[in-house]
């Protein structure tokens, strides 16, 4: 430990972003060189260059963009439904103590039920329609949002709530002035967690059920032996995932910036 601290104080370390770039470049180089050197069969892991050209080829087809759009649309619709249901039910359950006591155990019981258990049911009900996947997405993301909103409502200052009640605020006013502002950061955390889970289930549904989207194209590429295309699509899915994470995290930070809990720092 001493040695490291000394190193860092004597000559300045490279900035983090540069190291990150070097790491990325190193990773790409490994992806390129390992198959070229014959360490891994090129049929299993094509060089990075081959993946890129497969990606470029994909990008010229309308089907690729269509699939990307379908994936994003399914994700967005599912997440919106889960958010709306999670927030409304969360505030309702969290705001009424009797209801909360009655539902705690059930929520803890239902939450660990794996969403993929619903795949056969979804297929029977909707076939390979996008609604099959939507069912999975909504189910999985809903729990993430609900649990966070419940935490948030629980976090409401009892004094603030009592005050609101003593001024005879109506239930809706109470929600707007007391519960919602406290719960908002938690809602945003729920959004971030839900967004990631929704994407996972969206892709899973497409992959397993065969509803339209990038996941189905990956399955098609796999069965037809287009290995480079399959990798290219996986990279695209990964980039979509990175984008979702970055946006959700930015949204979470933004909502926290004007949150009342930050106000105390302003003189």
């Amino acid at each position: 430990m001493t040695v490291r601290e000394r190193d860092e104080s004597r000559h300045r370390p490279l900035p983090g972003w540069l190291l990150g770039l070097i790491g990325l470049a190193g990773f790409v180089a490994i992806l390129e060189l390992v198959p070229r050197a014959g360490l891994v069969d090129e049929r299993f892991l094509p060089p990075f260059g081959a993946m890129l050209s497969a990606l470029a080829e994909q990008a010229r087809t309308a089907e690729f963009w269509q699939a990307l759009l379908e994936t994003l649309r399914g994700w967005a619709i599912g997440l919106s439904i889960a958010m709306a249901a999670g927030v409304v039910l969360g505030i309702l359950i969290g705001g009424i103590p009797l209801l909360r006591a009655a539902t705690t155990s059930t929520i803890e019981f239902l939450r660990p039920i794996p969403s993929v258990a619903l795949i056969p049911l979804a297929v029977l009900l909707f076939g390979t329609d996008m609604r099959s996947t939507l069912l999975l997405v909504v189910y999985a993301a809903f729990w993430q949002v609900l649990v966070q909103v419940l935490y948030g409502v629980q976090d409401v200052d009892p004094v603030a709530r009592e005050t609101a009640r003593s001024y005879r605020f109506g239930p809706l006013t109470q929600v707007r002035t007391v519960i919602w502002p406290t719960a908002l950061p938690y809602v945003m955390t729920g959004f971030r967690l839900g967004a990631a889970v929704a994407l996972i289930l969206e892709i899973t549904g497409e992959l397993i059920i065969g509803s339209p989207g990038l996941g189905r194209r990956i399955a098609v590429a796999q069965t037809s032996g287009a290995v480079a295309s399959m990798y290219a699509l996986v990279i695209v899915v990964g980039l979509v995932g990175v984008a979702v994470n970055v946006i959700a995290r930015a949204g979470e930070r933004r909502s926290l910036r004007w949150h009342p809990s930050i106000r105390t720092e302003v003189p």
Binding site: T2, E5, R6, S9, R10, H11, R12
Partner: protein, 277 residues
């Protein structure tokens, strides 16, 4: 007694010093944005001494202590403990930090916390048990062996940290504003505890504080620091009787004089006065 001039203490001779800090300088960062925290510190501590270091807030007290403890590298100058240059945390040194709540392992019981450093020193089991029990007894915590630190009050947690340091049988004990975060009554008790342990065990103590009263009450010698970049402003010998207690010692006229003197020094330090030469 009141005629004794207040001034520089007789510095112990170099060969007999346990701890020697020579021309210590510490600059944080590099390039144009560097900050000089400590400019030049030289002092030494004889075996068995209890020395307090006091300075205005932001005087680089913690930087100094971390350099002495070997937790921080010096930019230039050296810290020598028992004739060996300190390059990392040395053997035979124990540190009590200000943040008692954060210096104890919360996943261990009180006993395990005290015992862990002894295990690392490969002290045999029977001896270990004896040391742990003695140390906890000495700090007045004989009956909380199996509690977790967070179940105790702040003062008791700091007692555990002191017990851990004492059980380690260090030759030098560093204390970094250990009582800054406990309430006033607990603080008086803990000050007396430090005096008692020091007299009983004969351990050398370097006690860093920002509290003028505390430094005079505890120390045989008080080293007053300037503001940052830090140098030694003055060393004050505390010629109070060795038997001290909160009531009589603090009401001695000599205590008031010394206190006033250190207070003045601190005020000068805050104004940015530096020693001449």
């Amino acid at each position: 007694m009141t005629t004794t001039p207040i001034g520089a203490a007789a510095r112990p001779e170099a060969p007999t010093a346990l701890l020697d800090v020579r021309d210590l300088r510490k600059v944080y960062g590099g390039g144009s944005r560097s900050v000089e925290a400590v400019r030049n510190l030289t002092f030494s501590i004889a075996p068995g001494e209890l020395v307090c270091i006091v300075g205005p807030s932001g005087a680089g007290k913690t930087t100094l202590l971390r350099c002495v403890a070997g937790l921080l590298d010096t930019t230039s100058g050296e810290v020598v403990l028992e004739g060996e240059k300190v390059t990392g945390p040395p053997r035979g040194m124990a540190v009590v930090f200000q943040e008692y709540g954060r210096s104890l392992f919360p996943w261990m019981t009180v006993r395990q916390n005290v015992e862990l450093p002894l295990k690392e020193k490969k002290v045999p089991k029977a001896e270990r048990r004896r040391l742990v029990e003695q140390a906890l007894e000495a700090v007045g915590l004989a009956d909380v062996h199996n509690a977790h630190p967070w179940q105790l009050s702040g003062g008791m947690q700091q007692r555990v940290a002191i017990a851990r340091a004492v059980a380690y049988e260090p030759r030098i004990l560093l204390m970094d504003e250990p009582f800054a975060a406990v309430d006033a009554q607990t603080r008086a008790d803990l000050e007396d505890l430090v005096r008692t342990l020091w007299r009983r065990l004969g351990v050398t103590v370097l006690f860093v504080t920002h509290d003028i009263d505390e430094s005079v009450y505890l120390g045989q010698r008080v080293i007053v620091l300037s503001n940052s970049p830090t140098v030694v402003l003055e060393e004050v010998a505390v010629d109070l009787p060795d038997d001290r207690d909160q009531l009589t010692t603090r009401s001695l006229p000599r205590f008031a004089e010394l206190r006033a003197h250190v207070y003045e020094l601190i005020q000068r330090a805050k104004r940015g006065d530096r020693p001449v030469g």
